[in-house]
Symmetry: C2
Subunit: 344 residues, 2 copies
Amino acid sequence: MAPRSGTRPFSQKTITDVAQRAGVSISTVSRVINQSAPVSSNLENKVKAAIAELDYRPQTAARALAGQKTHTIGLLLAEIGTDFYPLMIRAIEAEARKNHFNLLINVAGDDTSIEGEIPYTLGEYNSDGVLVFPASLSDDELYRMHLNNFPVVLVQRRPPAGLEFPCITIENKLPARKMVDHLIEVHGFRRIAFLSGLADHEDARRREQGYHESLESHGIPYDPTIVAQGYFQKQASQDAVCEWITAGFEFDAIFACDDISAIGALSALNRAGLNVPNDVAVVGFDDIEVSRFLSPPLTTVKVPIQEIGRAAIQQLLAFMNGEVPDMCTHFETELVIRRSCGCR
Amino acid sequence: MAPRSGTRPFSQKTITDVAQRAGVSISTVSRVINQSAPVSSNLENKVKAAIAELDYRPQTAARALAGQKTHTIGLLLAEIGTDFYPLMIRAIEAEARKNHFNLLINVAGDDTSIEGEIPYTLGEYNSDGVLVFPASLSDDELYRMHLNNFPVVLVQRRPPAGLEFPCITIENKLPARKMVDHLIEVHGFRRIAFLSGLADHEDARRREQGYHESLESHGIPYDPTIVAQGYFQKQASQDAVCEWITAGFEFDAIFACDDISAIGALSALNRAGLNVPNDVAVVGFDDIEVSRFLSPPLTTVKVPIQEIGRAAIQQLLAFMNGEVPDMCTHFETELVIRRSCGCR
DNA sequence: TTGAAAGCGATACCAC
DNA sequence: GTGGTATCGCTTTCAA
């Protein structure tokens, strides 16, 4: 029989091949693969042998179609090319794999969808549930998923008003405030600059609030000239700090709302020949992997990145299994004092 | 009709729903979705309207099963939690998406497969082709894929003897040699330490060869006491350099076989109170995103990370389309002189 | 405990 | 151009 056009150029073993080789029905093969019903150990061994001999792997498409489960979890991010995500994704991938789920990755920012065309993203048509990161999915889409009762877990993001989704959050405002308190109380700084994040990023906004609160509680006036947008980017942050320096603005410390911006700040200072922390102190937030290896090691707030990833998958799995997930998993964060603030 | 057990808890629109709503057959719906045959613009509009009204998205499982294509590309890595991959994955994701392919990610190192169980990884049963990174897949598995004529593109890795796969490679030995030449000829260093990578990583081995060749051509004896394994890791590299310092070994420069190890080296030197580049110079390889923001900015070899990712997808797509891919796509790399070597 | 057979939701062939 | 229908490979009922 000639293959139809569109047939793959490579052969695929099927469950029927296995069944024939083992001398059983395909039902039995399915049962031993999925352990979905008892099979006599005699047949079970035959089937296992046949599977091994043929090096058979079930086609996921057929499995998904018949079983109405894709065995796939989707990851929806706004941007994957940043230093914040490697460890997060590592943890997510490991946890998904442990539970025999595949990981489908989708970066919303790269969207090339054409008006009127069906969008190729993540949803009920290709996964059993998704992890949604900040700024990656519109409220409309979230609403649609909610209507369809599709399992979604929000990471570092709370659900929009009226919707209920489990979410994984972290403590931002208080540690940000404590960090600035530290700069003020321990080191005596009063001119503390701030590098903000993205406007649609909740964590970043709360960190900025912490900055304001600390300033206020110490009676230090807010000075917008030493506040700039870092956009979670090294280059933008470096540029901003360079401008401050060029403009002659005075500041004795910089609080960056994430470590990536802090790296940009460190770089700007280094280029200007300023010493950290002697001339200017720099502190960040997140404690990404590289932070403790910087020169000087960065004082920051430790966010349990891998725990967040693990928890996200666990809540999603619970949701998918029809269990009641924790609607809010909240992680504490703590100051990590290293050398860039002037300590030691 | 009651749903069978195992049915998803959430409803799914089907092509039949769309056909009914538009008053056409499912064949016609399929044609407009895939533009696989001409459809009168009258019906086409009706179908598009129905799709929009129902917010219909074709189920990928059904599509894959019927069409014998998964529309999915697999990424097989040994480790995803490193600073080298973010930009690579970003480029790969963007390029895959542009071509309407999904991205499935699999980290081989996390393997939790159980003896006798069917391994849940990547292959012909769940993707149309895979990108294989160093140390992520055994030669046996590669051989199996080759037998099945399954599209594979190797990235930063050459095929094992006897197998033919398109591969994406970069220039390693020559630039490594030039880098060490630079250290010797421009800066007059003769005690140059080396931080090696992983033994099963071809790029790392070639870079080490470049180091040897440069030393040899300058008549500098190879000194194993100042050569250590950095394992592409910051911590391991930091530890190695700390040990050298503690042991009192002398060296005036460190050539790290990748930027990640260089960061570890920088950190060790900083902790020991040594100035880079005045006391010891440090150079790396890869030019990952953070390198130019380090203090001091890192002299390194620029590897076109995003171009590699893009080329890998393009070759894989060609392979999958039955075209003849370039069996070897080779990228040049160039020295990027910054300040950590002592220049400026 | 086992096998036969009815779907799952698409694609693509065939006839009209 | 359009519709009917066999088919993809598997899971799950149902009957034995």
